[in-house]
């Protein structure tokens, strides 16, 4: 379990993390979502004690990270920035980490096999591709069989097979009862992996919600309908909180009603429908709506395209 209370971090004049409070529960995958530069990596460094908070506090399993006698068995962390000496082999990198806790060499070999790096384990890490570097980072994170796993953008640089592997890994870890905290700037990735979402923008908490609620609220808002008689359909659907956007040709986007409500209303009025589609794609759009004001280096809002 990870608990952040009023976590705040200033770098000079700039506030990177601003009064964040949240709890990451064990047994589920919690997605940590936010645009680039929103403070996700900083928050993770604060949890690990690599950076000291300006104000507030973060604890892991009830204690500050640095106060655990076996830190690698409490938290396994994969940071976004490279954290390996380029001149050292993957094997020796993992061995040195293992030796700080007295883990045997066999443990290092198990981890190398787990992430599939045995063929390159003796090569210098500087020669690794981005994907191989990620696998090495994941091997390091899992070395101490940690109760809590903290992964910063773990699918970066991985091929589709690797991405699939990571998703299964995260779900498997959560199923074992571990706390899994994964950051991403991609809503679609989180929708596939996470059970719970913590969304931040400009260092502030925007949402702390289950993925199901988030998806429900996002995808049921917009329904695409196609009908030969759009004028009558508009009249039949019109009501408080309902809005329309003209789509291409004979299509209409209905805001504020579910697909079921639109279909029922059309049937009651005897209007033929040629298409009725809840807009699942608007998940990413909903995330962008949520964080639009918080994107630091974003395009002009009116130019943002889902």
């Amino acid at each position: 379990m990870i608990e952040a209370r009023g976590l705040t971090k200033d770098y000079g004049e700039k506030r990177a993390v601003d009064g964040l409070s949240f709890t990451v529960q064990p047994g589920i995958v919690t997605g940590f979502l936010g645009p680039n530069g929103s403070g996700k990596s900083t928050t993770m460094r604060l949890i690990l004690g690599l950076d000291a908070p300006t104000r507030g506090d973060a604890t892991v399993n009830g204690r500050h990270y640095r106060d655990h006698p076996a830190p690698l068995s409490e938290v396994g962390a994969l940071l976004e920035a490279r954290s390996v000496h380029t001149g050292r082999s993957a094997y020796n990198h993992l061995l040195a980490l293992a030796q700080t806790h007295g883990y045997p060499k066999r443990r290092v070999l198990e981890m190398i096999d787990l992430v599939g790096l045995h063929e390159v384990a003796r090569k210098r890490a500087g020669t690794f591709s981005l994907g191989m570097g990620q696998r090495l980072g994941i091997a390091a994170a899992l070395l101490g069989d940690p109760k809590t796993v903290l992964l910063d953008e773990p699918v970066n640089g991985l091929d589709p097979e690797g991405i699939h592997w990571i998703r299964n890994l995260l779900k498997g870890l959560a199923a074992e009862g571990k706390t899994v905290f994964v950051s991403s700037h991609l809503m679609s990735e989180m929708a596939l992996t996470a059970d719970h979402l913590i969304v931040i923008g400009r260092g502030k908490l925007i949402a702390d919600t289950s993925v199901d609620d988030f998806v429900a609220s996002a995808s049921e808002r917009v329904v695409l309908v196609r009908s030969p008689d759009l004028t009558r359909l508009r009249d039949a659907l019109a009501g408080p909180g309902v809005a329309f956007t003209d789509g291409e040709r004979s299509a209409l986007e209905v805001h504020g009603l579910t697909a079921e409500q639109v279909g029922d209303a059309a049937a009651a009025a005897g209007i033929a429908l040629h298409e009725l589609t809840p807009q699942q794609a608007s998940l990413e759009e909903a995330f962008m709506d949520l964080t639009r004001d918080e994107v630091e280096f974003g395009a002009q809002p009116e130019k943002v395209v889902a």
Binding site: R45, H85, Q99, G102, G144, N168
Partner: protein
């Protein structure tokens, strides 16, 4: 990497961080990068080659030297000539031991495994001081006996290893270089940058001392003996003048500089963000 749901093998024993384990881990890191072998190799080579070179040149020019010049030759100066060059190699490696962790980002892994941080600094200092001392002692002994062998024809340049002060000078030369390594490591931890660390070291050890000659000699004599380089080098000096410290006093002063650098490094290591 198969796509099947992976299972993490369980740890057989829980494990925990202890200082001896951090020392072992730092040793693994130290021996597993190429810069270690290269820099130590160069350090050893220079420690041995320079005395051989100077002994050979001295021996071949002996006939052309004036009596005064011959009297000014010291066999120990020749035997320890390499130490002055080796200290640069050892200092560079000392800086690298910590600065490379910052330049490559591996310091984040290091401090994630040992978040209390200070054990890492102590372990690096212990490993590095022991290694540079253990490597330098045989190098200095080889340079002593080989330069003595080259100078065998010249009785005035022969000195017994058991003569007063000789063994102390040899071990002192190795000790001085090990302390230089410690000082440089602390500088590396303070500056956190390879180029900056090496430049700071070179400034303190190679730039400031000759600048002191621009001062009036009474000032120079009063001040220079307390510089880290001058004080430290008394550890392996056979004779001392009125304006130099004794070997023990020099060693204590230099150890004081090392302790101060380590204290600043330790303070900053705990205070700064990684």
């Amino acid at each position: 990497m198969s796509t099947a749901a992976p299972t993490i093998p369980k740890l057989e024993a829980p494990g925990r961080v202890t200082f001896p384990r951090v020392v072992l881990a730092e040793w693994t890191k130290f021996r597993s990068v190429r810069s270690t072998a290269w820099t130590l190799g160069v350090g050893i080579l220079l420690t041995i080659l320079f005395p051989i070179l100077f002994a050979t040149v001295t021996s071949s020019h002996w006939g052309q030297m004036s009596a005064h010049e011959r009297a000014s030759r010291s066999p120990l100066d020749i035997a320890l000539a390499g130490v002055f060059v080796a200290q640069l190699a050892i200092a560079v490696l000392g800086v690298l031991v910590i600065s490379a962790e910052y330049s490559t980002g591996s310091i984040r892994s290091t401090f994630t495994a040992v978040p209390k941080r200070l054990p890492v600094l102590w372990a690096k200092l212990v490993d590095y001081a022991v290694v540079s001392f253990v490597v330098l002692v045989p190098a200095v002994l080889v340079s002593f006996f080989s330069s003595q062998a080259i100078l065998a024809r010249h009785d005035i340049l022969q000195v017994s290893f058991t003569a007063p002060g000789v063994a102390r000078c040899m071990v002192g030369g190795a000790l001085y270089v090990a302390m230089v390594g410690v000082f440089a490591l602390a500088l590396g931890a303070i500056v956190r940058n390879t180029a900056g660390g090496i430049a700071t070291f070179a400034g303190i050890f190679f730039v400031i001392p000759p600048l002191m000659n621009l001062l009036p000699s009474s000032w120079n004599n009063a001040i220079s003996q307390y510089l880290p380089s001058d004080a430290g080098q008394q550890i392996f000096a056979l004779k001392h003048a009125s304006h130099t410290l004794t070997p023990l006093a020099g060693g204590v002063v230099f150890a004081g500089y090392c302790a101060a650098a380590i204290a600043i490094a330790a303070f900053l290591l705990c205070r700064r963000d990684v």
